[in-house]
Amino acid sequence: MTRRYVLGRLVQVVPTVAGILVIGFLLIHLAPGDPVLALAGENGDAAYYSFVRAKFGLDEPLANQLLTYCANVLGGDLGTSYTQGRPVLDIVVERLGATLLLTGTALVVSTAGGLALGLLAASRPRGGRDIAVTTMSLGLYAAPVFWVGQVSILVLALGTGWFPVSGMTTAGSDASGLAHAADVAHHLVLPVLVLAAQEIAAVARLTRAGLIDELGQDHIRTAWAKGAPPRIVLMKHALRRALLPVVTVIGGRVGHLVAGTVVVEAVFAWPGIGRLLVTALQARDTPIVLGVFFVVAFSVVLANLVTDLVYTRLDPRIRYR
């Protein structure tokens, strides 16, 4: 992995990030609806609104606002929330942890689960196990996330009482340390399972496809011909190479997981940034909307960066197109 590549790759992050900012900003300001109402409430009078407008600089021309915004962001300031009177960065960071916990765990679970299932299916293509895995993963992939979520609440939470219905912690709980972690973990199970369901399916299918592909390669056949036991062949040769598309999938899937998070957070009342986005949109709290959008997009950029670097590490033979 050349230093040139790494540097080039890092440099490329900048225009991407800038582009994201501009798009987000333009969208918000092109949209109908006056941010003043979100800030001042629906019941003020004209004088009150202009007072508020002046206070928040809403009268500046768009270009000025954009420049100011970009300057601020680069300096770490995402603006101040209209409705909460606090810096947006603080608000988003506060809620980011919950979302990271949810998506991170879902990523790990889906990767591990997907790899395992894919392995299972590829070990004997078109066999019984393969068909079972393929069917199941297809079903999981196709069912809408909120559907799976609600059914799981009704069955596994309300029905059996095994899991809590919503939230990240038990209401009014004083637990700290290990007990608190256990409480959160208990609340985490259903949301993670639901979020990971779609991803497990995708990873399983991809692993399977990649493995089957690999298994058809010449060098694998050579190994077999030489008498190497099939399982070793599978693990050592094929899996490592087949890992590549899976790594690819992880990189691309961060965006998908994040999308699924919005829905899962809604269904399970999980206090993350997906929920924050929807609430802020309803209140026309523009700074928060921009802040969340920016943080999410930036995370995806970061994930891609990491993935690319790992990708080349895994298989240095790869050239780029």
């Binding site: 297809l138 069912a143 609600q150 590549l244 919005v262 829905v263 949109l281 959008f293 891609n304």
Partner: protein
């Protein structure tokens, strides 16, 4: 080589479809034959065809106007209303049938946009190279990285619900991968002698595009678009759940969103739209798989066409 010098912002920003082999003139028929020979292929083709037919014939198939009050509120499935009625007393079956048509429209719209823009951009970038290529690929990367679902939420929540907005947002952000596929096809072709030969023979660029590039790129494109459309349907459903659906059009996502309030008292309201969505997604995915199998690989070894 020029292709190697350009470093993409991310080779992995999105799942790239497996490249599938070129289809030649008589090959098309062979592909179709191969497709329906496998049970999976046959099933997926049949399912997709049925869905398309239902969508096209929807106004004739739906017994009622999906927005009209035609029965008692929250009636379970019965002979009169095979999928039951909703809280206001509207026939769900009609809603699902007309929703099929909406899904078809949305999928069609996104598909066309993606094919058109992606194809054009890919061709342009591959053919011209240099600055054009550079700029276009940067743009493609930017759009690839944008979180589409978030973007759709932001757009719809700001500009109001509407399927046209959804189609635009998804169409305008999903073409990059297709552009890459087309571009790589163009690039690899550029290096082949017979293109020069053809050019020497007086063939104009349009002809080259039609005869060489398209047949090579199309299979991969089709597979990708198929998978993409499945995702589009799921996005529409999720938006409906979040209450961002279009209330003037019967769509599966909207029906699913409406069913929220009645989850405990009327299971049919969420089951049937959900089933419809899942069926369509399954059909599209299976079709994609089957097509991939039937179209074969672009030559042995490698398989690195990702």
């Amino acid at each position: 080589m020029s292709t190697r010098d350009s470093i993409p912002a991310s080779a992995t920003a999105e799942l790239a479809p497996a490249r599938v082999g070129p289809v030649h003139d008589d090959g098309r028929r062979r592909v179709l034959a191969r497709l329906v020979r496998t049970p999976l292929g046959a099933a997926s083709v049949a399912l997709t065809t049925v869905l398309c037919l239902v969508g096209l014939l929807a106004p004739a198939l739906a017994p009622h106007d999906p927005f009209a009050i035609v029965g008692p509120s929250l009636d379970p499935p019965s002979l009169d209303h095979p999928m039951g009625t909703d809280g206001l007393g509207r026939d769900l079956f009609s809603g699902v049938v007309l929703g099929t048509r909406t899904s078809l429209t949305v999928a069609g719209g996104v598909g066309m946009l993606v094919l058109a823009i992606g194809g054009a951009v890919g061709l342009l970038a591959g053919y011209r190279g240099g600055w054009t290529d550079h700029v276009l690929m940067r743009l493609a990367e930017l759009l690839q990285v944008l979180p589409r679902f978030f973007l759709a939420i932001v757009v719809i929540a700001l500009f109001g619900p509407g399927l046209d907005r959804l189609v635009l947002v998804l169409g305008l952000t999903s073409w990059p991968i297709l552009a890459r596929v087309v571009r790589s096809e163009v690039l690899s072709l550029k290096e082949r002698e017979f293109v020069d030969a053809a050019r020497a023979g007086g063939a104009g660029p349009a002809r080259i595009v039609m005869r060489e590039i398209l047949p090579n790129a199309l299979p991969t494109a089709v597979v990708y678009v198929g998978l993409l459309l499945a995702q589009v349907l799921l996005v529409e459903a999720s938006l409906g759940f979040l209450g961002l659906g279009d209330p003037n059009v019967a769509s599966w996502g909207y029906l699913a969103g409406q069913a929220q309030r009645f989850l405990r008292v009327a299971w049919w309201l969420s089951v049937f739209p959900g089933l419809a969505i899942a069926t369509a997604v399954v059909a599209l995915n299976l079709l994609g798989d089957a097509l991939t199998d039937a179209l074969g690989r672009p030559g042995g070894g490698g398989g690195r066409g990702r």
